[in-house]
């Protein structure tokens, strides 16, 4: 998940960009102008040379745009998603993009940033565990579903007749695994010196570069222009 990018912005910049993007989306007077912040987010990804992410998000945005056009102009209807759902996805695309960019940063960069702002070791450890937690839990969940299928717990009859038991069968092993994983990761961190005093460093740490300052300035200018021209909610 955390592909190495030397073009990555500093974590501080990424946080700032998330803040600016959320401000634009949630404070915009006219929600339809949010396409501009989405385009801005695409540029933000381009500057960091994250082509795969760019492709995925362009496809996602194109799809939601197409669905909105089909719904509004041609009365297209779907079984699961309503116009409201599609509109929310369309509006939030920019937030998805910049948040994804933040959470897929190398954990070393994130922990180095937290360490620089003097976050306690417990907080840093917690953040690192969360970073690793989701991809690992995804694999665990897949294994659990396979086991349930193997035991015959995923049959339609079983699901319909015993829905509460099915939820229990999923929740209990997942909770136990959560505890185990948190334990194993904590042990791993402690045995590699997470409790050492002082400021952590990072393989990727470059400090704030000119491009980071430029990004912050660009976003300040963009958000100001966006809110002044488009107005507040």
């Amino acid at each position: 998940m955390h592909t190495v990018h030397t073009h990555d912005f500093a974590i501080l910049v990424k946080l700032w960009v998330v803040f600016c993007t959320m401000s634009c989306v949630f404070l915009a007077g006219d929600a339809h102008f949010t396409w501009t912040i989405t385009i801005m987010s695409f540029f933000y990804i381009v500057v960091q040379c994250k082509w795969k992410d760019l492709l995925g998000f362009v496809l996602f945005y194109s799809l939601t745009s197409l669905l909105l056009i089909l719904i509004r102009r041609y009365g297209f209807r779907m079984l699961i998603f309503s116009e409201f759902h599609v509109l929310v996805f369309w509006l939030m695309t920019s937030i998805f993009i910049v948040s994804w960019d933040l959470i897929t940063s190398p954990p070393g960069s994130v922990s180095a940033f937290l360490s620089r702002i003097r976050a306690p070791a417990g907080v840093i450890l917690g953040v690192l565990v969360i970073f690793r937690f989701f991809p690992t839990m995804k694999a665990e969940f897949r294994g659990l579903l396979e086991s349930m299928h193997n035991r015959g717990l995923m049959s339609v009859r079983q699901i319909l007749l015993h829905p509460v038991a099915i939820i229990e069968y999923i929740l209990m092993p997942m909770l136990m695994r959560c505890l185990q994983m948190a334990d194993q990761l904590s042990v791993s961190a402690i045995s590699r010196g997470i409790e050492a005093p002082g400021v952590r460093s990072s393989y990727y740490a470059t400090g704030m570069r000119l491009r980071d300052y430029a990004c912050i300035a660009t976003y300040i200018a963009f958000v100001s222009a966006f809110l002044i021209i488009g107005g507040f909610r």
Binding site: V4, P107, G108, A139, E146, R151, G152, P173, S188, Y203
Partner: protein, 462 residues
């Protein structure tokens, strides 16, 4: 030099403990700690690397000296600079999803200058021959590569001492040979190595001493010659695995033949994922009572084949016959039981008895059968315990027992003896034979030549 003087330890809340250990490990020495599961091997490694009692609280008495300094005067992070730890399951100790970030983690924790972090990280990657994997996400590495990454992530701090806890548990034979090379290389570089391990054959020519732990006490110490001279009956009684590399047993191949009705027959199975062939025209068949070993390198497609057999994956092409009838992917689970290598996601209820009887109609006959199976698998005394509280070997046995009670004729077991001591391996081996004697057809994915030699009748090498 590491010295333990009359060290005893018991975890808060009880459990496995260590009793009156006197142990002196010289610099540059390679020591292997042997013994059955639950006898204190892991706890002893934790006492050496300091995780007990710093992370695993408990009552510690006696004195531990590291390089002439009392260990209790050292903080855990100070000790971690001198003693690096490599655990059994490397994937559970990774923080990053990419190689450099993972290996750099320890240096970053100590706040080393970024330049030094990069130099050390790149050197560790080079030393462990991982350079070609720099751009590969860690989750996609093979088990052997993950273990190398775990060692590199310790190597980066340049500790004098390495503590390994069952490092070969998830490795195939080739990866184990690579691990042996790395351990040999670390020894040649002058490191002190302490290795808690069940599989011994790859360490026989490397280790200086083999220590035997029994009920938390160090009861015996062997040289290589002593260990090799140990009579097999005594060795098995002690739960020690073979110190010699076991020759591959002469088994017939589990081949498809037209004149027999097999309980399971796979014809020309192919499986492709993202345009890559994982399995290419694989055929195999077995009759009731057969135990077939499925072997091959890590990543060759053994688990994929097993999942196709039991309907968790759909083949790209080929046919699957059960009792002579072609059976579609959606219905295979009704005939074929699958015990995954990772037993942590396999149990759903709060007791072993309930687990065995899950979805069964609880008649007197079934309860009696369950009772007999539990006794046969040495699980009866734990029948009311939560499955998560069992050891690895006990979970494997419970999974096989659930398969037996599931009323399915085919059982597919994925690495049922990984990480098991000699005694547990023997119990699992007996459990497989018991299931086969009940008329089950059994496929065992395994790297364990000892298990193959003891239990299997046929093989399929992928």
């Amino acid at each position: 030099m590491i010295e333990l003087r009359d060290v005893s330890f018991v975890y808060n809340g009880g459990g496995e403990c260590i009793r009156n250990i006197d142990l002196r490990i010289e610099d540059h020495e390679c020591v292997v700690i042997m013994g059955c599961s639950g006898n204190g091997k892991t706890t002893l490694t934790r006492l050496i690397n300091g995780l007990a009692p710093s992370y695993y609280p408990g009552k510690l008495t006696g004195e531990t000296i590291i390089n002439g300094k009392p260990a209790n005067k050292m903080l855990q992070w100070e000790r971690a600079q001198h003693i690096g730890s490599v655990f059994q399951d490397p994937k559970s100790q990774f923080f990053s999803s990419e190689l450099r970030g993972e290996i750099a983690f320890a240096c970053e924790n100590y706040g080393m200058n970024t330049g030094i972090v990069r130099v050390r990280t790149d050197a560790a990657i080079h030393d462990m021959k991982l350079t070609h994997l720099i751009e590969t996400p860690i989750d996609r590495l093979s088990n052997g590569e993950k273990q190398k990454t775990a060692i590199a992530s310790v190597n980066v701090l340049k500790p004098e001492v390495y503590v390994f806890d069952e490092p070969s548990a998830n490795l195939d034979n080739e990866a184990t040979e690579h691990l042996a090379q790395i351990i040999k290389q670390l020894k040649a570089q002058g490191h002190t190595l302490i290795i808690a391990e069940h599989r011994l054959h790859y360490l026989t020519d490397i280790a200086d001493r083999f220590l035997y732990l029994e009920n938390g006490r160090l009861t015996k110490s062997f040289t290589k010659e002593d260990l090799l001279a140990l009579p097999e009956a005594i060795r098995l009684k002690m739960g020690i695995r073979s110190p010699q590399k076991i020759d591959w047993p002469e088994l017939p191949r589990a081949e498809v033949a037209n004149d027999k009705i097999f309980s399971l027959k796979l014809e020309n199975i192919t499986y492709s994922l993202k345009k890559k062939d994982i399995l290419n025209s694989v055929s195999v068949a077995a009759c009731p009572g057969h135990i077939v070993a499925i072997t091959g390198k890590n990543g060759i497609g053994k688990t994929t084949l097993a999942k196709i057999m039991c309907g968790l994956l759909k083949e790209s092409s080929g046919k699957v016959f059960i009792m002579g009838n072609q059976v579609g992917v959606k219905h295979r689970w009704k005939y074929a039981w699958y015990s995954a290598n990772d037993t942590n996601t396999q149990f759903f209820t709060e007791s072993i008895v309930k687990e065995l009887l899950l979805l069964s109609v609880s008649t007197g006959a079934i309860k009696k059968h369950a009772r007999n199976v539990l006794k046969e698998f040495s699980l009866y005394e734990y029948k009311d315990r939560h499955p998560f509280t069992l050891s690895g070997g006990e979970k494997q046995r419970l999974s096989i027992a659930c398969g037996l009670l599931s009323n399915r004729d085919i059982m597919i077991l994925d690495e049922p003896t990984s990480g098991l001591d000699g005694r547990n391996m023997q119990i699992v081996s007996n459990a497989l034979k018991y299931a086969a004697a009940q008329g089950k057809t059994i496929f065992v994915i395994t790297h364990d030549v000892e298990l193959i030699a003891k239990a299997c009748d046929y093989y399929l090498n992928l």
